[in-house]
């Protein structure tokens, strides 16, 4: 045993390893990505590990392991659970043999996500239990408990951490090596493992009855707690509990109720915890989940309790809670004076806005710029997708007209084509996103005779989430070299009429490729291939000759590279940031930019 200082995601990984997990699968997505990476880092024996092509695949791979009596964990972010919802909803009816934990990381804020959806609601929708840790330490314990409950009730179980738990660091006491458990193997039984309407009918009734039992079981679970005995009570879940507990440390008399298992609701526990309470504040993030459960409970048992929270306007409907909002909201609820401990900050200069941008030297910038140049004066639609390249929407590139969800760019471009055949419809899809959910969209385009240009931004990694391998990289999580799956061959096999591969950093060739594709009817593709600058050595540096620079600032106005700025009316390059990609050199009208 030793102390490990790990991220919440690392704590989840260590917890799963400590539970003897046999298989871990998942698809990267902030804030969940480091779980699988941590499992890979610790010495373990007998645990199979994979980055699957998407969350649906990951869920199904894990389900088969759980059918075999093995312990399986599948990891994803909350919007990944949407992708995996088809297998999950059915799996809830079929059930499991070995413990199966679905980690779905929510992202209040949202900080790095499309939605502020709440996995607790998803758990209730799927009728499966959910654990809601408040800290990395709890996540470590809860993931082990989740395996035990999963096996006890033969159901998949969700662990729902949020960003501030996933990305918080804490010390975890854990063994130094791990060994996966022995498991029985799959026992054939088609009445059990093959979903049919009759089985679903029977199991649905069983599940509803069972969930009442789980709620009772959870009523004595150690992470459903109450402290203090005041008439006014605060209920909190997840990391909001940590904020509330820290603030209420100086007010131990205040009743603080924490729900660690939001579904099935530990009703008996909650009724007892609420004895003598006249007013309650629900302090939670994302949806007013516990708040609405309280309304149900109060109605069902005809309790006289006033409820404050998101519905009453006391807690904001969107965004994160934090230590400060805990102090403000709970003080107001309890009628406590608000003392200001902070430093004076009146009259502060307004800090500049810093929206996230594509890195200096990012090849995506060059790809977008080439398409923009080639389509100058033409009507075109630019359908973006999920990844670093969503940042191509920022000025001055302004090359992302839409972004909806993983893979949507390819199919939305088709919809725009069908509504407006005179415009040129483009999609921009990263390599990892293409493998995750782009391929069916390409088949749809060819099958339904769309006219569009697929731009595959191939930087040979999954950059946004921390450079995970994917089917095009020739590496997987078991460290065995594997055959690279060729995007080009896939496109040709699907019937794409023209497939070109270009280096986006060669501006002239890239513009020519776009023009050439635009002249052909049907589904065409350009693979813009250049490695991510975050994981490749810079090729050199560019420098601006201030004698030659005429201060037209075309470089800055057109490509928005963070290494470029203005000094004394002329453009200058920050050599700490420059990677020598040379895009600015290719568009300087007076040849003032060159390599050093």
């Amino acid at each position: 045993m030793s102390k490990q200082y790990v991220m919440g995601n690392g704590a989840i990984a260590l917890g799963a390893l400590n539970a003897g997990v046999n298989l871990v699968s998942g698809y990267p997505g902030t804030p969940s990505s480091e779980i699988i990476e941590t499992v890979a880092k610790y010495p373990h024996e007998g645990t199979y590990l994979e980055w699957s092509v998407n969350e649906k695949a990951a869920m199904e791979v894990a389900a088969a392991a759980a059918y075999s009596g093995a312990r399986a964990m599948v990891t994803m972010k909350q919007v990944g659970l949407n992708v995996a919802s088809d297998p999950l909803m059915s799996l809830a009816y079929v059930g499991v043999k070995g413990g199966m934990v679905v980690v779905s990381a929510d992202d209040p804020g949202p900080i790095s996500s499309q939605t502020e959806q709440d996995t607790r609601r998803f758990a209730e929708f799927a009728r499966i239990p959910v654990f809601d840790p408040a800290s990395p330490e709890e996540a470590f314990e809860m993931v082990q408990d989740a395996f035990a409950y999963s096996e006890k009730y033969k159901t998949p179980v969700i662990l729902r951490p949020t960003t501030r738990v996933d990305h918080a660091y804490a010390s975890i006491e854990a063994p130094d090596t791990f060994r996966a458990r022995d498991y029985e193997g799959f026992v054939k039984d088609s009445k059990k493992w093959v979903i049919f309407p009759r089985l679903s009918f029977q199991n649905h009734a069983m599940i509803e009855k069972r969930n009442v039992e789980i709620g009772e079981d959870f009523s004595s679970y150690r992470f459903n707690t109450v402290s203090g005995s005041s008439e006014k009570a605060v209920i909190a879940t997840g990391v909001s509990y940590a904020y509330a507990a820290e603030f209420l440390k100086e007010h131990p008399e205040i009743r603080l109720i924490r729900i660690g298992t939001p579904y099935p609701l530990p009703e008996t526990f909650l009724l007892k915890a609420l004895e003598g309470v006249s007013e309650v504040l629900c302090f939670e993030e994302l949806s007013p989940y516990i708040e609405e459960k309280l309304y149900q409970l109060i109605g069902k048992h005809q309790l006289k309790i006033n409820v404050s929270g998101k519905h009453s306007g006391d807690v904001p409907p969107s965004g994160e809670n934090d230590a400060d909002s805990a102090r403000r909201i709970i003080s107001r609820f309890l009628g406590l004076p608000m003392d200001e401990a902070r430093a004076e900050t009146a009259g502060a200069p307004e800090p500049p806005a810093r929206p996230p941008v594509l890195c200096a030297g990012c090849p995506h910038r060059a790809s977008f710029y080439a398409v923009k140049q080639a389509m100058k004066g033409k009507k075109a639609y630019f359908c973006g997708d999920i990844g670093c390249y969503t940042l191509g929407n920022a000025m001055p590139l302004d090359m992302v007209d839409t972004c909806l969800c993983m893979g949507a760019g390819i199919t939305m471009a088709q919809g725009f084509y069908h509504m407006d055949p005179d415009a040129v419809a483009f999609s921009f899809t990263g390599d990892s996103t293409f493998f995750a959910s782009g391929i069916t969209g390409v088949v749809n385009a060819v099958y339904n005779a769309a006219d569009m240009i697929l731009c595959i931004l191939d930087n040979s990694t999954t950059a946004m989430t921390g450079h995970q391998p994917h089917p095009g990289t020739g590496r997987n999580m078991m460290a065995t070299p594997v055959e690279k799956i060729s995007i080009e061959k896939l496109l040709i096999a699907a019937g794409v009429v023209k497939v070109m591969t270009v280096d986006p950093l060669d501006l002239e060739a890239s513009v020519a490729a776009v023009k050439e594709c635009a002249a052909v009817k049907g589904v065409k593709a350009i693979i813009f291939k250049s490695p991510c600058v975050a994981i490749t050595k810079p090729t050199g540096k560019m420098k601006i000759d201030s004698e030659k620079c005429i201060g037209c600032l075309r470089c800055i106005r057109e490509i928005g590279c963070p290494a470029l700025s203005v000094s004394g009316g002329k453009a200058v390059i920050d050599e700490n940031l420059c990677t020598g990609c040379g895009l600015c050199r290719q568009l300087c009208p007076v040849g003032a930019i060159g390599g050093v």
Binding site: F247, A341, E344, R354, P356, M464, N576
Partner: protein
Amino acid sequence: MRMKKDIMICGVGGQGTVLASKIIAAAAMDEGNAVHSAETIGMAQRGGPVTSHVRVGEGAYSPLIPVGGADLLIAFEPSEAVRNLRYLKKDGFVIVNRVPVKPTSLGSSEGYDGKREIEYVSSLCRCLVVDSDALCAPFGSSKFFNVAVLGAAAGSKELGLGAETIREEIVRIVPERFRDKNLAAFAAGYQIGENHHANQ
């Protein structure tokens, strides 16, 4: 030595704040403290404002430092110091880099040079202003600033951690080929911090 300290590190994505917070956390643990910390990760990392919260000592239930709770604010950039100043305690200490990172949008990059921000912070708080360009010049890259500023924090005695503990963690955490330059950067920063402390 057991202590209780909330330390906030702020800057712009790519400046290396995460490494600085990792070294502080590891050194604080080596000295027998409970530590919690939190980082900005994901899309916001790409050139956006980033913060690390390092909480040393018992009683920190949550990973985020409350507004008005930080004993020490280490700002890698002038406007980021201003952006996060509300986290500082009334008598808290600020170490701030005077070298600005200009925002990429053309309109705002022209006027901003960080001078007003430095003036503002110095007028309000106990404060040590450092210059990353000058500090890192001997090492050939501003990438060593994250370790140099740790040196300044240790030298100023505001960090509350032993210089030797931090040095050991630098050796353990940074890749070997950058070890010597990082240790030299730490020493250079330490000198500046110590001078500041001596003049108080």
